[in-house]
């Protein structure tokens, strides 16, 4: 293996690793706040990537139907609650968030699709289509089960994953799509040939991490989320509604998923179900980092990217096996260094 190949593999690994790192953060955030292992994270990636590719091809992405339909269901659920509570004052807000916003986004996408606008505008439209799916998903799937066991929440995550993957197949079809690169430029640094696309991925990752840090450290909503993650009962007692935290966590997760999808769309061909495996690798990264610390999770995810890139070079048939078995030695090391008997919360 020559030095060029090593450098090329490292570059490839870091780019994928950066995306896994973003996903690791999202998964960690949702888990900390809601106790749900957030399997549908992968669908946000697929939906965003496929929507972008379809917009570039001048077609209306099927995401709009999921958005409008999901919004309508969420609205119906909330309206039923509002009527039962005899609180019609809530109706305008419900309609605005779950009906008007999705319809407006769908309208924009419908108008913009055949016009093949500038790529940056298309990316914004994709965000507008995918990010609202987060709170809608929380309302429809998770909120009725707030406080349930990790196991039940996981099963709900799987059910949501099935629904979204199935809808993905219905609306996007079984074919894979790849979007155009943001930039075709390459720079040469010594022997290293760096594509502008990879630089963009890494920059975007760093930027998002920095803004998440600012959000958690310096905004009241960020602090509310952190408080909920540390102690849900305590957070509720000081007036942070559990629904708000859950909804906010899923909105952030959807945003991160959308960014990852947009970033990875030009690098790999994305199918309606590709997101799951990508999300899973983000998860492995989070584990390698210890499932508690954001910086370590990010480093762990980059490690997964590198490992994947090198193992696909040496033993491509066993690539996935290697990536997933790497967790076991790490876990062994952890199990040897920690000694505790711990009780679950009842």
């Amino acid at each position: 293996m020559s030095f060029d190949i090593v450098l090329w593999l490292v570059q490839d690994g870091i780019v994928n690793g950066a995306i896994y790192a973003l996903l690791a953060l999202a998964l960690l955030l949702v888990f900390a706040v809601t106790r749900a292992i957030f399997v549908p994270q992968g669908e946000f990636i697929s939906y965003a990537a496929l929507s972008l590719a379809l917009l570039q091809a001048g077609k209306l992405p099927g995401t709009v139907y999921v958005l409008v339909g999901g919004g309508a269901i969420a609205a119906l659920l909330d309206i039923a609650v509002a009527l039962r509570d005899k609180a019609p004052g809530r109706l305008p807000r419900i309609l605005a968030v779950y009906v008007l916003l999705p319809l407006a986004m769908a309208g924009i996408a419908w108008w913009a699709a055949p016009r093949k606008l500038d790529m940056w505008i298309q990316v914004l439209i994709v965000f507008g289509l995918v990010v609202p799916l987060g709170p809608i998903l929380y309302r429809v799937a998770y909120r009725p089960l707030a406080g349930a066991s990790v196991l039940v929440l996981f099963i709900i995550s799987m059910a949501a994953h099935y629904v979204l993957t199935g809808l993905g197949l219905v609306f996007f079809g079984g074919e894979g799509l790849r979007s155009q690169a943001f930039s075709g430029a390459h720079f040469k640094i010594g022997v290293l040939n760096i594509s502008a696309q990879s630089v963009l991925v890494v920059l975007a990752t760093v930027l998002i991490m920095a803004s998440l840090w600012l959000f958690f450290e310096h905004s009241i909503y960020g602090k509310a989320l952190r408080a909920t993650a540390i102690n849900r009962v305590g957070a509720r007692l000081v007036g942070i509604p559990a629904e708000l935290s859950g909804s906010l966590a899923l909105t952030l997760a959807a945003f991160i998923g959308a960014v990852s999808g947009v970033l990875i769309a030009p690098i790999t061909t994305i199918y309606y179900d590709t997101g799951f495996l990508i999300g899973l690798k983000g998860f492995v990264g989070a584990i390698l980092g210890g499932m508690g610390s954001y910086p370590l999770a990010a480093i762990g995810a980059v490690g997964v990217g590198l490992l994947e890139s090198f193992s696909s070079f040496w033993a491509s048939a066993f690539k996935e096996s290697i990536v997933f078995t790497i967790i076991i030695p790490v876990l062994v090391w952890r199990s040897l260094t920690t000694r505790h008997v711990e009780d679950e919360e009842e």
Partner: protein, 586 residues
């Protein structure tokens, strides 16, 4: 009785079913039986013990491939390969179990995904296992030369094994080990304090779950006569979890309900939806997901409790019959040195919870440990029982140093405790909770329990538990779930549980909190009687009237250190103690 009738009707139905229904449904029932085996393992492992596993299909696959290779390549009889397959499954399960079961909740779940995915790719990439196309021409199981090669014949093989596993699991949960297993999820610290080897028990449950999955894999290979990797992907593992949760993850019969519902639902959706939508392949998974959401939104505990409510309620359980008393420990001579704490020290970060604390306790006395909130009294209990390890100093029990022993070994020496924060398995009956205290006085293990070879000992344990419950005055609450009692009574249940352990030294952490006046005097009377029988008691309590009238001596703690020690009267007039409790007079 009603439960017996229901069970008998179910068995008759299962025995006759293949004769009455078309072949197609026999096939479905065979799939249900095989899925039930794996799901049952998950009910125990995930539902009861709380260890989430996505990796059961790895064991199914390993057993299926083992028997496939041995029977097709080497021509070994399937009955021999059953043992080979189970041995290999057990070896893998023990290896994975020893490595990963020490991990806390989510790490463990993830490690199961890891091995589940990894083994799938191994199956798919090994030449000897036929890569992704798998192995075929596996012979059917034959019995005395008679090949079980039709669906109806296989049905009996599959369901006899499945029912045996279900009954064994039910027996296991209703036994000495079963009580300990049911405490693992939320109360493992308490279980260790009563001598349960929680790590070993977890591994046993894990092994049983893996072996059930292995049996299912063996049946699968010989029923389908074909194995391929896609039957053992992560999706299969997740399907089993769905079955467990939908059926009711902590109910043995939930495994049958969940496996049946999911298998039938899948079949029905695959059959019906294409007709409905005039297209194939797209909507099944969406409808399936939506139905699962609706179901869990309605009943997050799964369907087993719903079914249980439909069955006629039988008469309540009968009080355990009298049985020969269990052997008791010999109490040490009164006045012999029992417990010595020497210069014990425990810090949490910068906070000194216990600092340079020394005191001694003689056999046959009641020693009160008092002090303001946060003085470190409960930490002292945790140090003595080994729940926490002292940073410095030493603790001796009857002359032997115990501060480096694990909790369960300290319990084996006759130290029983109650907890300041009630530590009962709230869904379990008062009787079972108290019987858990006698864990170390029984010997029968998990296999004996599954085969019901433990009934004589079990009767003794339950009779002892009932006696201790009577003794603390809760005899009319034997079968109520412990969590349904008022907090004060739950503390009393804790005392009964500690008494069930036949203690030499009884550690009581605020036993009188939440009790009414009459209950308090009954408790004081009970403690005096225990002292008269030779039991020594170390008591943490805030109720001074209760303490002063009862104890022989007092140790007063403040800010982790010993403030004073002496007879109740001396302590009451000690100026330092008065200042610590009432604040100084300016």
């Amino acid at each position: 009785m009603a439960a017996r009738v229901t069970l008998a009707l179910f068995l008759v139905f299962m025995a006759l079913a293949p004769l009455l229904v078309p072949e197609f449904y026999v096939t479905l029932m065979n799939y249900i039986g095989m899925a039930t085996l794996v799901t049952l393992g998950l009910v125990l492992l995930t539902g009861v013990v709380g260890v989430m596993s996505f990796g059961q299909q790895a064991f199914t696959g390993l057993a299926a491939y083992t028997t496939a290779v041995l029977t097709t390549v080497y021509g070994v009889s399937p009955w021999v390969t059953l043992f080979a397959a189970l041995a290999l499954t057990a070896a893998l399960a023990l290896t994975l179990g020893f490595i990963t079961l020490r991990l806390s909740g989510h790490y463990l779940a993830i490690s199961t995904i890891a091995w589940g995915i990894a083994i799938y790719f191994v199956f798919g990439n090994l030449e000897i296992l036929g890569r992704y196309s798998g192995l075929d021409n596996i012979p059917p199981v034959s019995l005395f030369g008679w090949a079980l090669d039709t669906g109806r014949e296989s049905y009996y093989l599959i369901w006899i094994m499945t029912l045996a596993a279900l009954i064994a699991a039910r027996n296991l949960l209703d036994s000495r080990s079963g009580r300990a297993i049911r405490a693992l999820r939320f109360r493992s610290v308490m279980a260790e304090s009563y001598g349960v080897d929680t790590a070993m028990l977890k591994i046993i449950v894990f092994l049983y779950a893996a072996l059930l999955a292995g049996v299912s894999g063996w049946l699968y290979a010989h029923y389908l006569r074909f194995v391929a990797p896609h039957g053992f992907g992560v999706n299969a593992g997740i399907d089993y979890l769905f079955m467990a949760v939908v059926g009711g993850a902590s109910h043995v019969w939930g495994a049958v309900i969940g496996a049946s519902l999911l298998t039938l639902l899948r079949e029905w959706l695959n059959d019906l939806l294409p007709k409905l939508f005039q297209r194939t392949g797209n909507y099944e998974i969406v409808v399936f997901g939506v139905l699962m959401m609706l179901l869990l939104h309605r009943t997050r505990d799964g369907l087993a409790p719903v079914f249980a409510r439909l069955l006629p309620a039988g008469p309540g359980r009968a009080r355990p019959a009298e049985a020969p008393a269990l052997a008791r420990r010999e109490q040490p001579q009164s006045g012999e040195a029992l417990l010595e704490v020497r210069a014990a020290q425990k810090q949490f970060g910068g906070l000194v919870a216990v600092g340079n604390l020394s005191f001694e306790m003689k056999s046959g006395e009641i020693l009160g440990l008092i002090g303001p909130n946060g003085a470190g009294k409960s930490t002292v209990f945790n140090l003595i029982t080994g729940v926490l390890r002292a940073d410095e100093g030493e603790i001796r029990f009857r002359g032997e140093r115990i501060d480096r022993h694990p909790t369960k070994e300290i319990a084996a020496r006759g130290i029983c405790r109650t907890f300041q924060h009630v530590n009962l398995v709230s869904a379990m009956s008062v009787l079972d909770n108290v019987a858990l205290g006698a864990h170390l006085r029984g010997r029968r293990g998990t296999v004996a329990a599954m085969l019901r070879r433990d009934r004589a000992e079990e009767a003794q344990l339950l009779a002892e538990a009932a006696r201790q419950i009577d003794r603390v005055g809760l005899g009319s609450h034997l079968f109520e779930p412990a969590g349904s009692l008022p907090l004060g009574q739950q503390r009393v249940v804790e005392i009964a549980r500690a008494l069930c352990g036949d203690p030499l030294l009884l550690l009581l952490d605020e036993p009188a909190a939440g009790l009414r006046y009459g209950e308090k005097s009954a408790l004081a009377e009970l403690l005096r009687r225990l002292r008269a029988e030779g039991t020594s008691i170390l008591l943490v309590e805030h109720d001074m009237e209760f303490v002063m009238g009862l104890v022989d001596r007092l140790v007063v703690m403040d800010f982790g250190e010993k403030l004073a020690e002496g007879l109740p009267l001396e302590i009451q007039t000690n100026p330092a103690v008065v200042e610590a409790y009432l604040g100084g007079i300016e």
